[in-house]
């Protein structure tokens, strides 16, 4: 029982970080019906940036978020303007899938050349600190990662619900035409939201790079998890993504400990497929309306 709860704790802590990564992905889909398959690669890119800052300038990885987030926001905006916006027509959504996949490959290629394929991880002085709370081990770095993710997710939700920009975003999600008629600049909203989604991933990348060793190829594993999370949560639903991410973290962790690690990730996909059987739109998703 103790082991089970320990596993659940570990699962929740990492689930929070995945939720942060997935938030950007589902947000971008909600607004422009684009799946950014490069999200995983962008997380890894941010992890490398954070790692570089730590290893060369001794910037604490969590503090590096203040540098990495704005930088990647700019990159996200640039990516949207160059690659995504030019996609038009009925095929746009599906083409975006392939274009962003090509982007992910390109990022992986560049990272391999620059950083080689050796595994890296940021190791600040407190990376080994573990507290024992009520008999359960809680690792400081993972806890910090979870707290950071939670804070950023709350800030994101505040941004979406209480600011003018947030209202513009939600309006665009609900009904782009009506939003434009009401004076919302759809192009600007889309570009800024894409940047926002990427900066969320960037923060998650900085956190990820302290907890797990990573190399350029790590994005494959990440993106398959992230895509499953947003589908399970319902494409476009932020709450769904958070729910599904934490759920995934718990499922994986528990299966790894109680059954066997080799079935851990697999079990999540089984859950996903089984869920889709019953509810194809995901937890909080909306059944596709005919236009």
């Amino acid at each position: 029982m103790h082991q089970l709860i320990q596993a659940i704790i570990i699962g929740i802590l990492i689930g929070g970080v995945y939720a942060l990564m997935a938030s950007g992905l589902t947000l971008v889909f909600g607004i422009m019906k684009v799946i950014n398959v490069a999200q995983g690669a962008l997380v890894i890119l941010a992890a490398y940036l954070s790692y570089a800052l730590w290893s060369h300038l001794h910037v604490d990885p969590f503090l590096s978020i203040f540098i990495v987030m704005p930088a990647m926001f700019v990159l996200g905006v640039a990516v949207q303007l160059v690659f995504v916006r030019s996609l038009r027509g009925p095929d746009a959504s599906e083409l975006s899938l392939l274009v962003t996949w090509a982007l992910a490959l390109g990022i992986e290629g560049v990272l391999s050349v620059v950083f080689k394929t050796t595994y890296r991880v940021s190791l600040p002085s407190y990376s080994d600190t573990t507290w024992t709370v009520a008999g359960y081990q809680i690792n400081e770095v993972r806890l910090l990662g979870f707290v950071t993710s939670a804070v950023l997710l709350v800030l994101l939700s505040v941004l979406l619900t209480r600011t003018r920009f947030g209202r513009a975003v939600r309006a665009t999600v609900q009904n782009p035409t009506a939003a434009e008629l009401l004076g919302v600049d759809a192009n600007r909203v889309q570009t800024l939201s894409f940047g926002l989604g990427v900066s969320m991933a960037a923060a998650a990348g900085a956190v990820y790079g302290v907890i797990y060793p990573f190399n350029p190829g790590s994005h494959y594993d990440l993106i398959s998890r992230l895509l499953s999370i947003v589908v399970l949560g319902g494409l476009g639903s932020l709450g769904g993504a958070v729910f599904a991410a934490v759920g995934m973290g718990i499922v994986e962790s528990v299966v790894a400990v109680e059954i066997s690690p080799i079935w851990a990730a697999f079990s999540f996909f089984v859950v996903l497929i089984a869920f889709l059987l019953v509810r194809p739109q995901g937890i909080f998703g909306v059944r596709e309306r005919t236009l």
Partner: protein
């Protein structure tokens, strides 16, 4: 048979004839090897097009079935013995059919979701199949990899049987596409691609049509995987379900022209020798991935409809301009 159909058949026969003659005319091993790879991609791309091009549902899971086909053949060898020499080739259609039938329940679940979700769910299939290949150790030998016995084909023409197998699969894929297009199934698929809800509304059995196209795609893909496994004689989970192979096939389809009959094959004929040439020349460069991504990006952004449709519309525009010019000249009398 209509004139167009007759021309189509003639083109197909010419391609088949050239294809069969090729390894006997250019019998050096490395050339036939390039032929094997080219036709492998042509078959994969055409099969992908059969489903994704005609239904409009992009599937990103095709390579999972390639891997399943490879492992199915390997397991058949390992646990049942599929004979030697040419026999495994004859066992392939059954093996492929088995994989296709097994894939139907999964496809049925996936096809209940909308287009984007479908693409993502099929992407997760890659992961699932790879994990199964790793974990079902007693069946697949897991990460250690599965060995297939080496056939005792004569060394001077060792690659030729594999080439002919891949050629047969490519012709089969092309033939199925051609027949589908000319059949009621083809009409149903195109209707689904245009507007699925309307198609459902007029009474087309939408799910059934999609599943038929899906099964055909999986059948061919699995057989291609089987031939590949026999060719290399050694397979393991990462190599059998390799996303880069799938990206290559998709890229070739887009390059050649998605939704056209010959597009994917053209794409393969252009890209595979080019790829091999690049590796020979750029040899030790680390920019392989970046180059791949760049080509993909360029094709998607600059030439999204691919070579064939662009050529076609270019030719049409040319013809239109000529006709208009002729009309204009006729109206104005003699040219000024």
């Amino acid at each position: 048979m209509s004139r167009a159909a007759a021309f189509g058949l003639a083109r197909g026969a010419a391609f088949a004839g050239a294809g069969i003659a090729f390894p006997f005319v250019f019998s050096t091993a490395w050339i036939v090897n390039i032929g094997v790879l080219t036709l492998m991609y042509a078959a994969l791309a055409t099969a992908w097009n059969l489903f994704s091009g005609y239904t409009g549902y992009i599937t990103l899971g095709q390579i999972a079935f390639f891997g399943l086909g490879a492992y199915s053949l390997g397991i058949t060898f390992e646990h049942f013995g599929a004979g030697s020499g040419y026999n495994p080739f004859y066992a392939l259609p059954l093996v492929g059919a088995g994989v296709a039938i097994a894939s139907i329940p999964v496809a049925w679940i996936a096809l209940r979701t909308r287009h984007m979700t479908f693409a993502i769910v099929t992407l997760t299939l890659l992961f699932v199949v790879q994990q199964l290949a790793f974990n079902l150790h007693s069946l697949t030998k897991g990460s250690t990899g599965l060995m297939l016995p080496t056939p005792s084909f004569p060394i001077s023409s060792y690659d030729t049987p594999f080439y002919l197998a891949m050629l047969a699969l490519t012709l089969l894929a092309l033939g199925l596409c051609w027949l589908t297009l000319r059949s009621k199934l083809g009409l149903m698929l195109l209707a689904i691609r245009e507007d699925e809800e309307k198609a459902r509304g007029v009474g087309i059995r939408v799910t059934g049509a999609k599943l038929v196209a899906w099964s055909l795609m999986v059948w061919i893909t699995a057989m291609v995987g089987g031939v590949w496994a026999y060719y290399l004689t050694f397979i393991y989970p990462e190599s059998s379900v390799d996303p880069l192979v799938m990206i290559g096939a998709v890229l070739m389809t887009f390059l050649g022209g998605r939704g056209t009959l010959w597009g994917p094959t053209i794409g393969a004929l252009v890209l595979v020798p080019a790829q091999q040439y690049m590796i020979t020349k750029l040899g030790a460069s680390q920019l392989y991935l970046v180059g791949y991504a760049a080509v993909f990006m360029v094709v998607l952004l600059v030439l999204p409809r691919g070579i064939l449709p662009s050529l076609r519309s270019g030719a049409d525009a040319l013809r239109e301009r000529r006709r208009t010019h002729r009309k204009r000249v006729a109206r104005q009398g003699a040219p000024a």
